[in-house]
Symmetry: C2
Amino acid sequence: MSEMRQDPTTKEWVIIAKERLKRPSDFRNKTPRPETPSFEPSCPFCPGNENLTPIPVYSSLNLNKDSWLVRVFPNKFPALTLDGSAVRHLEQGAFLSMDGIGIHEVIVETPIHNKPIALMGDDKVEEILRTYRQRYDAVAQIPNIKSIIIFKNWGPAAGTSLDHPHSQLVAMAIVPRHMRIQYDIAISYYDDNGRCLYSDLIDRELEAGDRIVMETDRFVVFHPFASHRPFETWIIPKANQASFNQASLADIQQLAQVLRITLLKLYRGLDNPDLNFIIDSAPIGEERTDFYKWHLRIIPRISNLAGFEIGSGIYINTALPEETAQFMRELRV
Amino acid sequence: MSEMRQDPTTKEWVIIAKERLKRPSDFRNKTPRPETPSFEPSCPFCPGNENLTPIPVYSSLNLNKDSWLVRVFPNKFPALTLDGSAVRHLEQGAFLSMDGIGIHEVIVETPIHNKPIALMGDDKVEEILRTYRQRYDAVAQIPNIKSIIIFKNWGPAAGTSLDHPHSQLVAMAIVPRHMRIQYDIAISYYDDNGRCLYSDLIDRELEAGDRIVMETDRFVVFHPFASHRPFETWIIPKANQASFNQASLADIQQLAQVLRITLLKLYRGLDNPDLNFIIDSAPIGEERTDFYKWHLRIIPRISNLAGFEIGSGIYINTALPEETAQFMRELRV
């Protein structure tokens, strides 16, 4: 018999399909990606091709200043831009629209074409995360910006065709409904209990123990009770921080290590799976540390969504988070 | 500049990405599926292999009764089953779960291995839809069932590896949060306006005209104003029917023709794209015809979701529904 579990942060149910359950090692990548060189002359993100991308809004240099470490520039084909207004238009009493205003940036994580975060040194990962934080801070100051999401698409199944390691920042003039629902649930929980839902969740997960991948003095890494997909992994701070830019530089330093180890475990354990990761933060101007915590979600793209998931919003997960967390915990990297 | 549009049925915003916009014909399938035979000896859904699948709960025979037309049986690896209870369990004050109870059936649409609905005769499509309706009716009587979704996965990108045309029915002991939100929005609209949101939507779409694919006396086929993905297509009844099993046999007869033509236009126009379709109905026992309408959504699986969509719930659509609807409207099949 299957089990249904409710995600306490979204109130969505998930089906843990016991009849279709696979072992953690069954999720290993069956079609590993071809080897790529450390430099690819035709890659717009490789050193020497900087003229192929827009003028950077940020770049960090190495100590000798002879090359960049991380580069950030506006997306050449942006989903959102700053020209326009946040005024809503209602046509025929039914069709609500607005200008697609916002920011869309690309963060090139390394000059090395074939170096994923999983295989970088901690200092390099820290440089990327400091860049995220710097851009989050800068973009959050722009009028009309109500939400910021930082995310990474790794591999074709995760929605990118570019091999060179990069991530993206999108800032919007709206709060996505998805985010608003999560935030409302967190507020209700706080109103009912006088405590932060996310703090309680960490405490309960640490008590249960069997879904924990890793714990440090500042972070908890776990596979959620109601994981939507196999190997969904959350990294969440213990401190009361509603937004990613509330993380201190010491937090960022430790996060770099925690993220690298987590990604390395996925890289080794599942043979470099396609994946997304996403940093969720509170809406801009609503950063209430008493009921919300920013968190980083890693979603390996192992299976395709089918009609049932698209239609119902309910995910069928063929992995038991207790088993995948144990697999990750025991993996030596 | 991009445009943001709000889906009136879910209040989700969608980004129509003007900088990345493609023409309708650009969405043609680049890797057409290999030809398959009309009979495949190793296929569990082909005639002669009936012993490889569970005992049918329904089958319809042809006039000579020498073969079946449509067969329905329980899924061999069901996501949900009827053994268990709908009682919720809360553990550690944080983890809510219940037995995965429900029904999971497979509907084999034809004995012919390589015959998609798009290429069938109207009578064959009608037989499939009558089967859907029969199963919906039967399953809706079962105690504890609160919602029923009928869906089809066509092609690997749509989540199936089985070529033989089939669809599925899943009945659940819960109302998915996704459905509940849509229903609440429809109720609010009714409370505010005294009219059905979905009826108003059809009227406004017919008035606008440019997103209409096809109109008959009983159905409207259109590409929604805030389409989440390229070529997302809705088929919706004009009559006040909250659930699929409120459709009359005359409705089903006309739906068969409308669905076949719509799928044939996608088949010819986009070269047999992978796709899902989903029939959304009101929750069982809450079939209020004054504020909700069942509808059939077709979602071609042309592009992969990336981190932005997963993280924010906001879709970036690279097609203009006005252009794709025109393409569909003008296509002669």
